[in-house]
Symmetry: D2
Subunit: 402 residues, 4 copies
């Protein structure tokens, strides 16, 4: 299905070699100031050809708003967004008429559809992510304006070169103390200082070398992207199937080339004891709002945000399309050797950064709109009297006091 979200809904279309790619954003709140440049910034961070670490395919990826705004203000109606495809070279990929690329979608698409796009990845191309990034930019603008929310992703590892917090080893805790501080302060400006988008200068240099090395060997490398979301109000996420971490995991694993997701303490957290892993409560401010001392939970408890930073890490495999010769088989099952021509990224993580941010924004925005529905609808009810305090947590019904 090509739709994501329940209320704030995005539907995308587009292959690598059609006329355009784009999306429709449904149920964007009316009254939001929105022009193309609000969206373009993230599209330009995603676009190919930004540095010699990425594919040489050259696309400006200029977005045009078709509907849903007037005088630069959203109307509340569907926002149609279109990005023309420009630098198409269908002939680049002719070997793949014979060979399904190993670990790519060529063969599985054929199994699914009985027919496939004749060139490039078709719908499995990374160009499919343009619609997501465009839609995410709108969600993000709202979240920033209203909550001061900040979503910052960065490259935390390339191949086995990782930022220190990942290599940290301690039997009693998942992360070093300065990791929490880092998550509080990292900005996109810092992330973008370097084309690898790793904000640790020393690590970043090594990563760059590693990527160039792979590129020269006509090979590819994987990596991970870590993302933090700050200033998200508590109460977002639905219990049971639509826990916020479940929606984030869904969103992240829907990005091409992803292989894993972990939130908060993640896989490391499984090795801690309960008393080490639990995040004790502390009074946060005068309004009786609680916060947690540590944040192994990653800002989510029971599927619902607690107001602390949300952070998670996403694993990206080395891109499947490499120019190196690979022994494999043709569609007909004959053994042979494939060396894929075409223009490919030796490593996707630098360009994945805005995609991760955008998908995160979509998840938060939709969760917010669902919770706003519930909260407003509940807040209109007459106050409940004589309830046992056990049902009210503190003294009052929280919805009434706000």
């Amino acid at each position: 299905m090509s739709t994501f979200g329940v209320i704030f809904r995005v539907t995308t279309y587009g292959e690598s070699h059609g006329k355009s790619v784009g999306c429709i954003v449904d149920n964007c709140p009316p009254g939001l100031s929105l022009v193309e440049s609000d969206i373009q910034t993230q599209l330009s961070r995603r676009r190919p050809g930004q540095s010699d670490l990425t594919t040489p395919r050259d696309e400006k990826d200029l977005v045009a708003i078709q509907s849903g705004t007037e005088h630069g203000i959203t109307l509340g109606t569907p926002i149609g967004l279109i990005v023309p495809n420009q630098d198409q070279r269908p002939h680049d990929y002719s070997e793949t008429d014979l060979y399904p690329r190993p670990s790519h979608a060529d063969w599985t698409y054929l199994q699914k559809y009985g027919v496939k796009a004749s060139s490039g990845g078709g719908r499995a191309s990374a160009r499919e992510t343009i619609g997501r990034v465009a839609a995410g930019a709108i969600a993000e603008k709202y979240l920033k304006l209203v909550y001061g929310a900040e979503i910052v992703a960065f490259v935390s590892s390339v191949s086995n070169i990782a930022m220190p917090f990942i290599q940290y080893e301690n039997e009693e805790r998942a992360f070093p103390q300065d990791f929490w501080d880092f998550l509080n302060n990292i900005t996109r400006v810092e992330v973008d200082k370097d084309p690898v988008r790793c904000p640790d200068k020393e690590t970043s240099e090594k990563m760059k070398e590693r990527i160039i090395l792979a590129k020269e060997a006509k090979d590819s490398v994987g990596g991970t992207v870590t993302c933090v979301i700050r200033n998200v109000p508590p109460g977002l996420g639905e219990p049971c199937f639509d826990k916020l971490e479940a929606k984030l995991a869904h969103a992240m694993l829907s990005i091409p080339a992803t292989k894993g997701f972990e939130i908060g303490s993640g896989f490391k957290g499984t090795t801690l004891l309960g008393h080490q892993h639990n995040d004790p409560w502390v009074k946060k401010n005068e309004k009786d709002i609680l916060g947690t001392k540590t944040n192994n939970s990653g800002g989510i408890q029971g599927g619902i945000t607690n107001g602390e930073n949300i952070y998670f890490r996403v694993a990206f495999k080395p891109p499947a399309t490499i120019s190196q010769e690979q022994a494999t088989a043709t569609y007909n099952g004959d053994s042979g050797v494939l060396a894929a021509r075409g223009r490919h990224d030796p490593c996707v993580v630098p360009r994945a950064v805005p995609i991760v941010e955008s998908m995160a924004a979509l998840v938060i925005m939709d969760a917010l709109m669902i919770q706003n529905s519930r909260k407003t609808t509940a807040s209109l009810l007459p106050s409940i009297r004589d309830l046992p305090p056990s049902m009210l947590g503190a003294v009052q019904n929280n919805f009434k006091s706000k």
Copy 2:
């Protein structure tokens, strides 16, 4: 939202201390032989009180089919399933009238709803998973009957005690060769030989000790569950947002206490080079069906199954509810010490095994029904002539040839 799935849809209800928990399974295929015992087996593997490694809460968890079958055959109409709650002890949890449990859902539920269940976890209780397991058992029965599909989950680590394939270190590959063989052969019978549900005897013994140790210390431990799904047809999973791994990640991260998910080579795979990670194609049988030599992809490429084993790993944190004293704050923000009474699991992974399997079954079954819709609808079209071979992969339109 309490519904999971697009066609094969499950909607669940139930708190820890209501009259019953249950679910409605919509769009189960008609004509499937189905009686309570088909469902009970997995419910009994999930139920508490199975060994001294789990909570002493004693629930038989007997399921009763309310609708959707007659003479033991499904009618195609919604299947209502009910499991009464029996061993309720609301008074066990009175400390939590004052204290939100650290890393539990008490405070976030209050933020979400403005009111909360007065005892136990309410909807955040593990009893919520009963509906999922019941529904998953139906999906699984279908998949086994029609495709011989086998879904086997097992405990792959408890705390830092892990099965050898997890500890395997090799710069050029993610897993040892015998791991693939192991995934081909592991069965539930072997998994259930030991109460920890780790099929590696040596590791299992250590795990058991570790859990007992934690239990005696009124503490808890985390772990991981690995799951393999065999004999899934190729072509399942939707490109873009609803890739099969995205739905699996969604499903798994919706299980209480989960912190991470990885498919195939997962986080390890990010350290490999493209040529090491790619799974070369080989002819699988006379029907021109391809397979892969290695399986770093975890049976999914471009979001779509390729017919190989699907396998993934899920991270579970140490349970938040521990009887050990914890310094924390009350709902009002006053500092204090909480020692939670009540009946709790020191480690959830043994009981999580059937839950992981059930959620996997729900994802596969729904993906299958969506793909069956497309495939059948497409197969009725007249044959396409004169298409470039590049669009047909091999010579023929696959849907026509089957």
Copy 3:
């Protein structure tokens, strides 16, 4: 699909002859006082055996809340509702083993599922509506408490015996003036004074005779139900596909035995001229809220409520199951004569009244929760300056002023 609604979602289960029928109500606002008796009233108005105008099947239809409330207050979590089936007589229907009933669902269910319930209507039984009525009663309670909303349906015709406003003929207007007043004042108490549930005494007497006549002739009669919804806030309903009248039409045509739906002036309105049909605006009160002088629109314009009374009419065919002999064919295609035994309603409209009301409540409640999401989310945005007045209607952005 057995689910209705986007946010306020109802999923039902149950055949005529299973253990129970019931439903799960998802996303009910937390903090609503709710006990079984709130739901029972409408279930009892729907239940069979209320008078000699309805089926003699005797069911108490007592509802039991399984989850989602504590101490009589909703928790915001799914509300499980169960109503046991008691008076089952599977053997009543054995003729229908051979004959699909004319104009009933027997043959189409078989086409759909390849298998069918062996007795009664299975899922096509009117007992299926119990879940809807139970869920609707919850929605209605909220709407009444918060908005003073009143939903009143009544029987407006039985066979060709119709209330005067239906028989009204005037080239320039759809309804007589006193019809608008009547809609402002009609109550359930008045509707229930008579077993036919037609609030016009003279008409009602004739209807009763007509139904008895049909019953004695082992025949059945149809009729229409008109429904008014008062005190619904403006702004509900989504443009385009999910216009409020579209959702109401969907809801009403999903009730068994319905054949038509008209809102406001309906089919009569198609014969008027634009200047006769248009509802002129008038100032309603000091808050610059507008209202309309006439109400041919039925309270909805452009798919969105305008604050005036919503009213519509639903057509019910004569029930298909009659004991009179009918020349028809067996499942195998052999000609023959069927005289259906069993217990059947000679006319469904009196019992349809609470079903119509309940479906209406579900539609309004869901539309309200969707609109609350949008409105709250939009209201948090900073004020828009320098917009052309043409975009703001009056002087101010309405969302900011409330």
Copy 4:
């Protein structure tokens, strides 16, 4: 929400005065031959400026496929469709800066969104229907190719000038016999012979006069559109909430200016007795497929198609925008007189014909894809033995025998 359908899903965007209108069609079956001209035919039947009976706004409404096809064949991926807006005249509507048009969406949109499009109907413009018609044309092409399905709508009344079958009065039957024959044979060619699109020449002439009369009086007239769908396979439509007639009603009442819907015998059918209304079964052919002698059911029983013609009628009110002076109020509540300039249709029914057909095609196509999912999934199950014949209708399980 701007999406329609569960599997075959359409999402639309576009205001009257934005850059373009369009849609995304998701889950179109792969392998369907599809080029722009397949879609253009219906768009051209819908476009304004076709005759002097419709609005003088001149739009070519040329569609461009953006994605989802290659070499004229659908890939199974989302089909992006764009139609540029050309003849925009935003200044035409300046009176409506002050006055919300009576019975139009101006005021309700403002209530809904707090802001509104400054000119024309914005999203409430009839241009919104372009996306529906484009998507419907694709659905229709499939249905025709595979099932020979034919969907033909026509104008059955304008104001009080109606085709004979509507004026037919008979206490014992809803329609004259020749109406059934007419529905079997009517074609689009015949419908299009006249600009009113009423296939009864005598009636059509009177309708034309009536429309011209209204136009000259700066007034507008309403009417009804009747639609027949032939050659739809049995088994489509979901019991309970998503009965096929419920989805059709939803679809039709979502078309701008509609006020009513009736299927089969409709409101007339409510005056018949059960034995007159029931459609007796007859053997249809050698394959034991049954059909019905009469068709008061309108091709649907229990919400599911029975293979007979589906037919229904839709009521359209006189268009709200008229140039005649109307006494009404401004947004601020001041009394005044509005004479709306701009280009408007004096009667929408001729142009509504392809919209009704398209929405019908979308409903049928989606129902078909849902049923194909169930049927295929069920057909793979092993045969059921020893079931009581009462569950199998005839001798065999139908799904197995096909």
